[in-house]
Structures are given as C-alpha cells and as structure tokens.
Amino acid sequence: MPEPGFSRSTLLGSAVAAAIVFMGCVADICFAAAIVGETRYAKINPDTATSLEGIKAEYRRPALIPFPKENPYTPEKASLGKKLYFDTRLSVTSAQSCASCHNPGFGWGDGLAVGVGHGMAKLARRSPTIVNAAWGEIFMWDGRAASLEEQALGPIQSSGEMNMPIEQLMERLASIAEYKSIFAAVFPNEGMSAKTLADAIATFERTIVSERAPFDLWLEGNEQAISEEAKRGLVVFNTKGQCSSCHEGWNFTDDGFQDIGLPGADVGRGQFLPGILKMKHAFKTPGLREISRRGPYMHDGSVATLEEVIEHYDRGGVVRPSRSDLIKPLGLTSQEKSELVAFLKTLNSHLNPTALPDLPR
C-alpha cells in the first residue's frame, strides 16, 4: 500500500479508459463514459474490534426472520412451499426435488463435492446450503439470481439440473387436484403460476434458520458454552486470520464476491461483470453456520476438511491479477490454525429433525 499522504494522478488508468472509449465497448460493459480522475491515498485507522467484548457485539443473532414485503410470510404459504420443495415431480424425470441437492440431512446441502443434476451428471459447482437464506442479498455462487424467488425457479428449469420447462411443470401441478386447491387457498387472487410457485418455495426456505449454537450461548453470557481454545480462535478469526473481512456478522458472510485464489477455469461472478478484473474467478462468500457438517468446501468442493480450508488461506492461493487484495499468506502458527477450527465448530447448532410433508396426489 502507498505511504500515508501519498498522492498521484491515475494517468495510466485514464489513458486506459480513454483507449477503451476509442475502441468502443468490450464484452457486455464498457467503462468509459464517466471520467475517472485522480486517486489520493491516506492512512486510516481500522476500527476492527480486537477485544472479545467488542467482537461479541458484531455477532448477535437477529430476533426475527426478514420476509420481503412483496412476498410476506404466512404459515399456509410456507407449508405449501415445503410440499413443493420436497416434491420430486418438480423435475422432468420426477426423480429430483429441491431437497435432492439441499437436503436437511446434510445441513441443507448434499454432502458432495459438486451437485448431481439431470441424468445423474455432475455439475460444475457444489450445492450451497439454504440455511439462513432469508438473510441473503444475492443468490447462486456467481450471484446470477437477485432474489430467493428468482433462485427457486433457476434449478427447476436448468437443463443440467431438474430440466423442467416451467409451462410443463405448471400443467403437471394443475393436474393434481390437491395442489390446485391449496394454491387457490394460499393465493386467492393469483392462483397457480410460476410466480406463486416461487413465492411459496422461497417462503419455506426462509424458515430454515440455524438454531442457537454454543457460540450464541456464549454470546448470551454462558462462559462455559465454548472452550478457551475456541475463544482464542475467534480472536484469530477477527485479527491475524482476517476471516471476518468477508465472513462478517451473525451469519458470517458479507454476501460478497472474492477470488480467493483457488485454481480452476471457472470465472464465477466474472461471467456477469466481465469488465471488472476482481470479479474474475470470484465466488460468493458462504455463511459459516453449521460449517463443520457441510463439507467438502469451496464453490467447487475441492477442499475436504476445515483444516485444509485454513491451510489454503494461510498459503494465500494462486497469485493472479483477479485475486482479492485480502488474500495473501497469513503466517498462522499451528496453534492458531487449531484454534480457528475449534472456533468454527462452535457454530454448529442442534438443527431440529425435519419432518417430511405429505405430498398432494
């Protein structure tokens, strides 16, 4: 980083921008019309909490699940959404449901390195959990879905996943008398449609929230709820490990996109923001609740254990222009690595068993 008070004109950047103006737009985006001028640098004092009490304040659980005003919660809608979520008839083969890849038995993931889609073909990325999706800002590893409702319709229609054309699905559901009557009761003014299907599934998904974990009990004042090793791990998490730069807040994610230096050709978020260098190979920061029961890890399932995840961050990953400026060798000691793992294990709650719904016939 430049010295404090250092000031320089970004002539090179301006020249590049000007060159793009004359070349015209590249890919889907051109960065030329607004003029990027001088950049100055000053030293700022980071306000990251380093004391345990200060750190605790960052992680308190919210009291309520947020539901969007466009799709408010009703118990009946969540109940319908649960039926749809577990119904294999949402796939063209009638063999896969949402729960096939987002299975409560595997922490609402699938426990596989990468998902398995239509025809048992392997997908390119790991199935993310839906735990705490209610707090999500943007969805899919590459952020291509702006809402949970939009996300819900994606895998259903994707040829590689459930491969079900939405019109065909609505016809199939309309042929099931009980579904027709439930939709009519839950959505009296809208009835059965792709929109109400998505609204119901998203509403159910928002009800899947991690229960209180030992970490939460400790936040609430039970000093014995987590070990001293885990408490030290929390401090490493927030300081030397820099984990909290992205895994922030009670759900341990900023919903942001970073290239963390994993090898591979998948450009992730870069597919949608091709003009932004730092988005190449960038994937969404996952939350860390229930993390030790959700392996293997990373967007491609390439890392088997939490210990190996920490080794990756300690090494800093592949050096390339898109790699996040936050990713660099950390110099963690073996004790600090063990403490981090001990802390991460305190984020597992005791999820209540999920009763499977009776499905309409």
């Binding site: 980083m1 019309a33 990027v36 001028g37 950049t39 942001g256 003009g275 988005m279 996040s324």
Partner: protein, 106 residues
C-alpha cells in the same frame, strides 16, 4: 447593478457551485455507502472515498456513465466526473449490499 459586477457575481456563483459539487464525497464505511442518493450536475465530480477496513470496487454499468474504480484500498479516494444526464446506479462489485444512485441533472 453594474454589468461587470453582475458578470463577476455570476462567475463567482458558478465557481462556488462547481467547487461545492467537486467537494461532495461519497464515503464507504461498514460495507455501506454514506448516502443512498446524491444529486449533481452534468460535468461535476464526486469523490468516492474508502473509509472502510476492506477494499471496495466501486463501479457503474449505467449506460452513458459507466466507470470502474478497480480495487480501492482502505484510505483511497478517487474523483469521478459524470458526463451524461440521468440516474446512475453505483455499486460495489465486491459487496452487493452496497448500492446507491447518482442523479445527474443539466
């Protein structure tokens, strides 16, 4: 009022308005912009200042006012001059919760 004085006042008024606009700063702190919306005139400049403890990547893909500041480290502030009238959606590409609008008028 004498004509030269009126002209001087107009020039001074124009300069001060420009200076005011040039001094408008949008800060980034706690993974949030300091404002949800700011209004400036065409040709005026905003300063995007990263007061956070992580890098940000401020950008816009709004037609006519596209820009990309790249990875801005904590402590960096960059001038951006907007050249087209309209509403510009400004984002941090890294942190999708960060969104704001720059309204550019004639």
């Amino acid at each position: 009022m004498h004509k030269p004085a009126l002209i001087a006042l107009l020039i001074l008024g124009g300069l001060s308005a420009a200076a005011y606009a040039a001094n408008q700063t949008v800060r980034q702190h706690g993974r949030m912009f300091s404002t949800e919306s700011v209004t400036i005139r065409k040709g005026e400049t905003l300063i995007f200042q990263n007061d956070d403890n992580v890098p940000h990547n401020i950008a816009s893909v709004s037609k006519g006012n596209e820009f990309n500041l790249g990875s801005q480290p904590p402590g960096a502030s960059t001038d951006v001059t907007f050249t087209e009238v309209g509403d510009v959606q400004v984002i941090c590409a890294i942190h999708p919760r960060m969104k704001m609008t720059v309204k550019i008028t004639n």
